[in-house]
């Protein structure tokens, strides 16, 4: 008997060791086959069926099919993708829990708010600032001016009152000022390309921020002396402290944006000249952009300069437009997002010659959560009423910030980025709306190191096997049958009782965010003695 077998996968020949699975053979060829329930060292469970391949006209799970001599395997075909996609769509239809928390998803700048709050709660202000400044171009502006749509989506609001997200932002920006820091987002390597932005209002600043971050040499042309556009007016009105605006402009300079003041488009410099000089031009002309369109030789749309949605491309190649010049934006966060998006599209254009709208990560969406689903999550949160800044400055003191941050329910997923289900969903372009279904949203946070969210569990059984291998006293088991099967510890309502030894190993092996470590969520809420909970917002049990 030969010690290897030869088979073909998508027409390519591979020699695999006797006894190897089709999956292993495919990996030898570098053919990527998705897997969820497969775990090296454990016998195959063949339950998730996202690793389907077609052999002899039959769809079979590659993880459990032993490669045989002369086998002809189809893997990279539309039919196989279709089957895998359906498996993923089915799993997602039974998936309760969001990849991104609603606040995060609602934020036009896609700020990871729960992460920021966890840093604040853990007393890591710098990390929190890094999170903030990595997503928002002018955090000072949003901290003072944003109407905080994120708070409308906050699930804590279903219980008592939403987390004071904008107040937390204000606290961070204020701390930065006081400490004399200038926190910069991570910058991509230099691009050897140049970009011009016209207009130093919030849109233009945001676009310049994104271009500079993306590694382009960025020059910002503006009419006035100092820049800031409509934000100047806010400082005069007293809604935005002047030093905050200055700080933001300083941040942009520190990021490498070159300001070119007293330069008006069409007067001091022509669009043609800019196009000649720069590889990309972003027009952020403000409300006056509409009248200027004709003069600049650009077409007008119903609300202003005509630009493609999402990318801001105008009819002229390499020229982008954004902000009030294109259409009115409802609030500062939206405005910044428009500028940032145009900047991102321009970066893509500079890199590849094609403007691309910013990719949004795949996120499973659970939708409305009922009040009765929340008590489980309240175990992870501070059981205090919403904190308001006590000082007349309207800014949190550090203890207040930490206390308020502890009110976050952490309804986001700690496995974003590590979750295989999310990754494949994106990769296979699943339609999360093909099937609908919704289980109760719950989290087992009663005790122990591990948190368990049954709604995110795909029943791969890896944790069951690891717990058995680790000789756990109780261990884990499948409970029930059919659609209602779930994972649990026998004779107990807490998963932790079944995972006294193997919790970390199981968390590491979990293909989704069903099992996570408590410590990744946040340190226990700080001492809240001075906040006396009122009866209506007290969590049901400790």
């Amino acid at each position: 008997m030969s010690s290897t077998v030869t088979l073909t996968i998508d027409g390519r020949t591979v020699e695999a060791p006797q006894g190897a699975t089709v999956l292993e053979a495919a990996r030898m060829l570098g053919v990527e086959i998705p897997t969820l329930c497969h775990f090296p060292g454990l016998p195959p469970s063949a339950s998730c069926l996202v690793c389907l391949v077609k052999i002899d006209g039959r769809m079979v799970p590659s993880c459990a099919t032993v490669a045989e001599e002369g086998m002809k395997v189809e893997s990279e075909t539309e039919e196989v993708f279709e089957a895998r996609r359906t498996a993923l769509e089915l799993l997602l239809s039974d998936h309760t829990g969001d990849c991104l928390a609603p606040c995060h998803r609602i934020c036009p700048a896609q700020l990871n708010i729960p992460l920021m709050l966890r840093h604040i709660q853990n007393g890591q202000v710098e990390k929190a600032l890094q999170t903030l400044c990595g997503a928002v171009s002018l955090p000072g502006a949003t901290a003072w001016l944003c109407p905080a749509p994120c708070e409308k989506g906050c699930r804590r609001g279903v219980w008592d009152a939403p987390t004071a997200i904008r107040d937390e932002e204000r606290f961070l920006v204020q701390t930065e000022l006081e400490k004399g820091w200038t926190v910069l987002p991570e910058k991509d390597p230099p691009l050897e390309r140049t970009a011009a932005v016209v207009g130093a209002g919030p849109t233009g600043l945001a676009a310049a921020w994104r271009l500079a971050r993306g590694g382009a040499r960025t020059v910002l042309f503006h009419r006035g002396e100092k820049g800031g556009g409509s934000l100047r007016a806010e400082t005069k009105r007293g809604t935005l402290p002047a030093e905050v605006l200055e700080h933001e402009l300083a941040r942009l300079r520190a990021l490498g944006v070159e300001f070119c003041p007293r330069t008006e488009l069409g007067k001091d410099v022509s669009l043609e000249a800019l196009r000649e000089e720069f590889d990309a031009v972003i027009l952020a002309l403000g409300p006056s952009g509409r009248e200027q369109a004709g003069r600049l030789g650009l077409a007008s749309g119903p609300a202003g300069l005509r630009a493609k949605p999402h990318t801001g491309e105008t009819d002229l190649p390499g020229v982008f437009a954004a902000g009030a010049a294109v259409k009115r934006t409802p609030h500062i966060a939206r405005t910044l997002a428009e500028g940032q998006n145009a900047g991102e599209a321009a970066i893509a254009w500079l890199r590849t010659g094609r403007a691309a709208a910013p990719a949004r990560p795949f996120s499973s969406m659970t939708g409305r959560v009922e009040r009765k689903e929340l008590p489980d999550f309240l175990r992870l949160a501070g059981r205090i009423p919403r904190v308001s800044p006590a000082s007349e400055t309207g800014v949190f003191r550090p203890a207040e910030a930490r206390a308020e941050a502890s009110r976050c329910l952490h309804c986001d997923c700690r496995s974003v980025g590590a979750c295989k289900l999310q990754r494949y969903a994106e990769q296979y372009g699943v339609n999360p709306k093909r099937f609908s279904g919704r289980q109760r949203m719950e989290i087992d946070a009663r005790r122990g190191e591990a948190l368990f969210e049954p709604g995110k569990c795909i029943l791969c059984g890896i944790c069951v096997q690891i717990a058995e291998r680790a000789r756990e006293e109780l261990g884990l088991t499948f409970i029930g049958r059919g659609f209602d099967v779930r994972i649990g510890a026998p004779f107990s309502d807490a998963i932790a009782d079944g995972l006294r030894r193997a919790a970390r190993e199981c968390v590491a092996a979990c293909p989704t965010g069903a099992l996570t470590l408590r410590e990744e969520t946040a340190v226990p809420p700080p001492s809240l003695d001075r906040f006396s909970p009122t009866p209506e917002n007290r969590a049901p049990d400790a």
Binding site: T86, T477, G482, D484, V485, P490
Partner: protein, 802 residues
């Protein structure tokens, strides 16, 4: 609102102060009896359940602490199987049949009405006073009595919602006065050459009162001192006419009585076997005369009489061929001597005569030449399977008889096990010789207590004779046979799940290959065949494979047993040659539709499909059925008429498989649920455009992607009805249910034919019809639950479904 229909007396004997049982002692006793090995888990749990009626946690914890069984295994297994409960049950259990025939006849209404009547809260199965627990069962196998339910051991058939209060009251009254129950299972021995009164005592016959008839006949024979033996025989097949009695006198043609009640027993005995003592005759005559005076009715012994010349009977039997059911209705299932007198164990004997070295190959040759294909559903050639196990090296191999028949509407295997236990053991023993196995296991559903009992009794008898155990038939190699009882999980009919179940694990299937032939029970080569397959084996060996292969069609040889039920005149268990057409079965054997026209046949249960009447000339064999989108399945055959909604029937089967899915693989666990949700939506009038296409697409993907046969075939009922009855689906999307079945899409109206007799108002269980004597009644649509009672009771046919 009407007053409570059923004012039950308060529960007695359920005093809350009952002392807590000694859990530890009970657990220890059970462990001592069943063993402390991991594999003993299911029998251990069954023993606990038997003892307490549920699984108390202290007992389970003790078992985990004092055996090799882990807590995870206990909870995983106990929550997998339907029979295990985690809360105490009520004093009486009402098993409501959800079989196909019952569903079509309105079982859902029965269940809903029972819940209402007994005040069982939604989501619960027991009333707050713990008197009754409702337990839906896949099939009670009394399809010709549909809709049926069973309260404890008593079966009630042809139910309707308005009959229920009376039934419950009657049951409670009977409970109080109930005499000690008598067993029909005492060992008996036939006396050759003596007249016999044969009574079919399969569990479906028993459900129709054959047990009581049997005792009434015995009593009558004793009282009349008649020289005749009352004999228990297996299934008689003619379910539509049971309870049935055959008067067999040597040298004379048998006389049959059908639809006999225990009250007729004396008259029958007297008619055929005149009492010898004139005094007895005289007193009997007087007694009957007085009875007649008191009861004002005449005993009519001749009424149900029939003989095989009866055209209905001859047409019922005419097309049949009895191989698996050879000597049906004549043999006492447990009388080994009688089995031997009817060529029993001759086939096994012939195999043992062969040289030991050439024997396995010879047997496999016979089976292969016969063309026998597995009767469990998929039709895999038996000879090939046997050879595959035979070819495996190693001294330890197993033979398993798959008696986990769980399809609603299928009870062929149960009937065979109950009627011919020796024949199936013989078939298994021949298989064991062929493959070299020394251990055989019957896996039988726990819902089939009589089958378990009779097989166990038959094994016991053979062991006593030394025919099983050390030396097969007293001269062959060793063969031990034991029984593993299922615990209520349809999926365990799948062979890898069945093996997992025998091994004491959750009955989840695994990917094949490796097939059980290579790696089965305990990882050893294992031959698994269905009951009917084994039942055919002795005949094949005895008569020769050519005789068997001469019957049937090109690729499907021999015969197939079907359970014929539904809207057909003559239902029952039939065995027909392969290749007979659907029309011949329905119209010749079954006598056609009971009323109106029949429009389709559902073949193969939840894995099968609906074949429309226009394709009824298709011969029944494995391949032609597969081409139609159906499968042979285990052989249920339900005839559907115009009043059956095809969308509803598809939903019914999908609900069954979805409920029985083991929950392992994505396609079956979630896919079947999503399909069911779409069907629910359609039946409730909330269907959307694109739903039918999604059903087809998802259905095909579930078929292609699922791990085991249950999932792969689950979409068949939906896909075939979409294929042949798409117009009905489309009507639902437009808000109409052409068959008038889907409650959300119909309403009940009173027409001008109404004379105001108030019968409907009196019977309406929810008070939706105001009492308006001599005026046309009105139905309050908001209150109406569509229970159909008004329409059934109206003598003027004035209630219509719109």
């Amino acid at each position: 609102m009407k007053p409570s229909v059923l004012d039950l007396p308060p529960a007695a004997g359920l005093a809350p102060s009952e002392a807590e049982p000694d859990w530890t002692r009970a657990a220890e006793e059970i462990l001592d009896q069943c063993g402390r090995d991991r594999k003993a888990l299911i029998p251990v749990l069954q023993a606990v359940q038997e003892r307490f009626g549920w699984l108390p946690e202290p007992v389970l914890r003790h078992i985990a602490a004092h055996s090799d069984i882990t807590p995870a295994a206990i909870v995983g297994v106990a929550t997998f199987y339907d029979m295990f409960r985690f809360r105490p049950a009520g004093r009486h259990t009402i098993r409501v049949c959800r079989g196909t025939a019952c569903h079509v006849a309105g079982a859902e209404r029965i269940e809903a009405e029972l819940r209402r009547l007994l005040k069982i809260p939604p989501g619960d199965d027991t009333d707050p006073e713990r008197r009754f627990t409702i337990e839906p069962v896949a099939c009670l196998g009394c399809c010709t009595l549909a809709p049926v339910m069973k309260i404890d051991e008593r079966t009630y058939g042809r139910l309707s919602p308005e009959k229920l209060p009376g039934v419950i009251r009657q049951f409670l009254a009977d409970e109080e006065t109930r005499a000690a129950r008598r067993s029909t299972e005492e060992p008996r021995r036939a006396a050759a050459g003596k007249p016999e009164i044969r009574v079919g005592l399969g569990s479906c016959c028993m459900a129709k009162g054959s047990g009581r008839l049997f005792h009434a006949l015995e009593d009558a024979v004793e009282r009349l001192e008649a020289d005749v033996a009352v004999k228990r025989v297996g299934c008689v097949g003619m379910c539509h006419r049971t309870p049935m009695v055959e008067i067999s006198v040597p040298g004379r043609e048998s006389v049959f009585y059908t639809g006999v009640s225990p009250d007729d027993a004396a008259a029958i005995v007297e008619r055929h076997f005149k009492p010898r003592d004139p005094l007895v005759r005289l007193t009997e005559g007087w007694r009957r005369f007085l009875d007649r005076l008191l009861n004002d009715e005449e005993a009519k012994p001749g009424e149900g009489a029939m003989d095989s010349a009866d055209p209905a009977v001859s047409r019922f039997l005419g097309r049949q061929a009895h191989i698996a059911t050879e000597h049906f209705g004549r043999l006492d299932p447990l009388d080994l001597e009688e089995y031997l007198a009817h060529e029993g164990f001759q086939a096994l004997g012939r195999c043992l005569e062969k040289e030991e070295t050439s024997r396995p190959a010879w047997i496999a040759d016979q089976i292969e030449a016969s063309g026998l294909r597995g009767r469990g559903g998929a039709g895999f050639p038996a000879g090939r399977k046997w050879r595959a196990v035979q070819a495996q090296p190693g001294p330890v191999k197993y033979v398993i008889c798959n008696g986990d028949e769980g399809d609603p509407g299928a009870f062929m295997d149960r009937m065979l096990l109950e009627s011919f236990p020796y024949r199936i053991i013989e078939g298994m023993a021949i298989a064991a010789l062929a493959v070299g196995a020394r251990e055989g296991i019957f896996y039988i559903r726990r819902e089939y207590p009589l089958a378990v009992h009779r097989v166990r009794a038959a094994i016991g008898e053979l062991e006593r004779r030394g025919w099983l155990g050390e030396r097969l038939l007293g001269k062959g190699p060793p063969l031990r046979i034991r029984i593993a009882e299922g615990a209520g999980a349809f999926v365990c009919g799948e062979e890898t799940a069945l093996i997992a179940s025998i091994e004491g694990r959750r009955g989840t299937p695994r990917l094949r290959p490796p097939f059980p032939a290579q790696s089965g029970l305990d990882g050893k080569p294992t031959l698994i065949n269905n009951v009917e397959t084994f039942a055919l084996v002795p005949w094949i060996i005895r008569r020769g494979p050519d005789r068997f292969a001469a019957i049937g069609s090109k690729n499907s040889k021999g015969t197939k047993v079907f359970a014929l039920a539904g809207a057909v005149k003559r239902g029952g268990l039939i065995e027909v040659p392969m290749g007979v057409t659907i029309r011949e079965i329905v119209e010749e054997i079954g006598g056609g539709a009971r009323e109106g026209r029949w429009k389709a046949v559902q073949i193969g249960g939840p894995s099968g499909g609906c074949v429309p009447e226009r394709l009824a000339d298709t011969p029944i064999d494995y391949d032609s059925l597969r081409e139609l989108g159906a499968i042979m399945g285990s052989g249920s055959l339900v005839v559907l008429d115009e009043r059956t909604c095809m969308v509803d029937i598809a939903r019914y089967f999908l609900r069954f498989t979805q409920d029985q899915s083991c929950g392992k693989c994505t396609f079956c666990r979630i896919g079947s649920k999503r399909m069911l949700e779409i069907l629910d939506r359609i039946c409730e009038g909330r269907g959307r455009s694109g739903d039918l296409e999604e059903l087809e697409q998802l259905g095909r993907q579930i078929s292609a992607g699922s791990l085991c046969g249950l999932g792969k075939t689950a979409p068949n009922p939906v896909l075939t009805t979409l294929r042949y009855f798409r117009d009905e689906y489309e009507a639902h999307l437009q808000g109409r249910c052409p068959a008038g079945k889907c409650t959300a899409l119909i309403r009940y109206v009173v027409t001008d034919r109404c004379v105001g007799c108030t019968l409907c108002a009196q019977h309406c269980p929810v008070g939706a019809i105001p009492m308006t004597p001599y005026r046309k009644h009105e139905i309050n649509d908001d209150l109406c639950t569509r229970c159909d009672t008004c329409r059934t009771v109206c003598p003027y046919e004035a209630v219509e479904i719109r």
